[in-house]
């Protein structure tokens, strides 16, 4: 009954969006896996990064994707600062305290944005890649294709880094045993700080890619926070690949929910699936916990 081309198109879009979700969720997964920090303000960093992207894009009048060159290092530094000021004091605190503090951080970020930018949408009016490739009945948005490709490449680069570099080794060692790692000459605090910075830098990359076609407002973060956590939970801390797969699943579920139920219910479909996955695979789909 439903047009097969429509289903195909939606599935393709689901996959493309899913890759972007994976990229955004990866930082959260790394931080949680490494230092057990429960960050409920993750999505709000995406929002702040999206505003920063917009400001720079408007200033230089270049496509938002290009601004990643500036925003990614900038947000790495911001991440280090946030780690020092807010995260370090709550390391090892009860999960509930961490949630309270990061929810507070989310309020601060949202309302700073509201006070400064007001509630209206901000978007770059002249994007470079605002067209589609048409192959028969299948249309693929070029900006989304670029975003997905960059996301995928970044996921693989991070994965390579974790497996093959000295820093990656330190991350994995610390993640495996926080007590023993310092004995092996690893500066745990430094590893934590860099990882947190990296996680925030990834949100900046995600935001730059999203702003190629998207818009931001003070509440954009709410769309990403819970979704990122769901991806982390479904990935089951199975490393980069777990996040990649579960991001794809979320993207595809969203597309299917949108197609077969309604666009309003698409998130409910994702979360319902999350319920059952958590019930029957409490360790996540792709890993150990």
């Amino acid at each position: 009954m439903i047009d097969p081309a429509l289903i195909t198109n939606n599935l393709i879009d689901g996959v493309l969006m899913g890759l972007l979700y994976s990229l955004v969720a990866l930082g959260l997964s790394l931080v949680f896996g490494l230092m057990d920090i429960i960050n409920f303000a993750h999505g709000d960093f995406v929002m702040i990064a999206a505003y920063t992207t917009w400001v720079i894009a408007m200033m230089l009048y270049v496509d938002p994707s290009v601004t990643a060159i500036i925003t990614v290092p900038l947000f790495f530094v911001i991440g280090l600062a946030i780690y020092k000021i807010i995260i370090e004091p709550i390391l090892g605190a009860e999960p509930l305290i961490q949630i309270a503090v990061t929810v507070g951080l989310g309020y601060v970020l949202q309302n700073l944005a509201l006070a400064y930018f007001r509630a209206g949408p901000r978007s770059f009016p002249a994007p470079w890649f605002n067209y589609s490739i048409q192959i028969g009945p299948i249309g693929i948005a070029v900006s989304k294709l670029i975003a997905a490709a960059v996301s995928l490449a970044s996921l693989f680069i991070i994965n390579y880094m974790l497996v093959n570099t000295k820093f990656g080794l330190a991350v994995r060692a610390t993640s495996a045993n926080r007590e023993v790692a310092p004995l092996m000459g690893i500066n745990v605090r430094k590893v934590f700080a860099i990882t947190f910075g990296l996680g925030i830098a990834l949100t900046a990359l995600g935001a730059a890619l999203y702003m190629m076609w998207g818009q931001t407002n003070p509440y954009l973060g709410q769309s990403f926070s819970l979704l990122s956590w769901v991806i982390v939970a479904m990935g089951g801390l199975g490393g980069v690949m777990g996040v990649l797969y579960s991001g794809l699943i979320v993207g595809v579920l969203e597309a299917l929910g949108s197609t077969f139920v309604s666009p309003s219910a698409r998130l409910a479909v994702v979360y319902l699936a999350f319920f059952f996955i958590l019930w029957f695979r409490p360790r996540g789909l792709f890993g150990r916990r």
Partner: protein, 328 residues
């Protein structure tokens, strides 16, 4: 039933508090704005003190408070508007429906050992799922529903002024606190506190972890489902948006700031934060948009970092000072 000295002290404290709160309207000359602030704060105090059972005693970070309260409240409101059934009955029906949902969700969740952040995520998603289900045309749809004007008076638990509803709220709050006192001093309470501390050790001592977590969740949901109608009656309108994620998280945060497992802390934190929040909104809300929430956020960060034991530690200190021992 025979009460120990500490329990008797707690019960007396709750009764004293209820009487004191009930007297406030006289003290402030029935000034409506202040009565409304007090009523709203009391609604949240009920929620937070009830949350203390699942969050404080059992240590499960439940982020779905408004699922249970709104569901219960809407059941009572619908029974009233569609079938002319008094909320005195409807509120029990609401409590039953909320408790049933909690049991349906809680049984498999605890059966499969979902806890900590995963439990928090599950309950946070539950809010979205129930909201979207209620948003479907078959349920509430997109419309707003109002409690019509004709339903006024004690029979309908709806009043043009606030003091009557406020007294009902204070009574429910008192009952909720007594339930907390009872749980805290019964086998359930000891078991829940043991579960919060160390599930594995508790289980080896014969504690049926799943059963007691479920008891805590269902009790909490039932209280919220019962009180939900009072909240709807207070502002006279309900929609699918009552299934509110942000407010559900706010309830949990008030519980955390109050200090886990402390009845006095939960109460103090809900009342204080609600009043401070309202003060910030009314003073700064129209000056710079969002300034009041910004300040609220900073407050949360500061409390979380510098006083993670929550208000309970302050209250504990105060109690020692005035020589008033026993459990909070």
């Amino acid at each position: 039933m025979e009460f120990s000295k500490a329990v008797r002290k707690d019960i007396l404290a709750v009764i004293a508090l209820v009487l004191a709160m009930a007297a406030i309207p006289f003290a402030i000359g029935f000034e409506r704005y202040y009565l409304l602030i007090l009523s709203t704060a009391t609604v949240f105090a009920i929620y937070v003190v009830a949350w203390n059972i699942i969050g404080g005693y059992a240590g499960q970070l439940d982020l779905a408070a408004f699922v249970y309260s709104s569901l219960g409240g809407i059941v009572a409101a619908r029974l009233m508007v569609y079938y002319g059934i008094t909320p005195w009955i409807g509120m029990f029906a609401g409590a039953g429906v909320a408790a049933a949902l909690a049991a349906i969700i809680g049984y498999p969740t605890f059966r499969f050992g979902i806890k900590e952040v995963w439990y928090a995520l599950l309950t946070a998603s539950l809010v979205v799922i129930v909201r979207e289900i209620m948003h479907m045309p078959e349920f509430l749809g997109s419309l707003d529903y109002r409690l019509p004007w004709k339903y006024m008076g004690w029979y309908w638990l709806r009043f043009p002024t606030y003091e009557q509803l406020y007294w009902v709220l204070v009574a429910v709050l008192g009952a909720t606190m007594l339930i907390n006192v009872w749980i805290s001093n019964s086998k359930i309470g000891y078991y829940l506190k043991a579960i919060r501390e160390d599930e594995l050790a508790a289980e080896a001592l014969g504690v049926d972890v799943r059963k007691y977590k479920l008891i805590a969740l269902v009790t909490y949901a039932a209280i919220l489902g019962f009180a939900g109608y009072l909240h709807i009656s207070l502002n006279g309108v309900y929609t699918y948006k009552n299934f509110d994620s942000a407010q559900s998280i706010a309830v949990a945060i008030m519980g955390i700031i109050g200090g886990l497992g402390s009845i006095a802390g939960a109460f103090t934190s809900a009342i204080t934060l609600k009043i401070v929040g309202e003060y910030l909104r009314s003073s700064f809300g129209a000056v710079i948009p969002g300034l009041h929430l910004l300040i609220y956020g900073i407050l949360l960060i500061v409390v979380g970092i510098f006083k993670p034991e929550g208000l309970a530690s302050v209250i504990e200190w105060f109690k020692k000072k005035v020589g008033w021992g026993g459990e909070g």
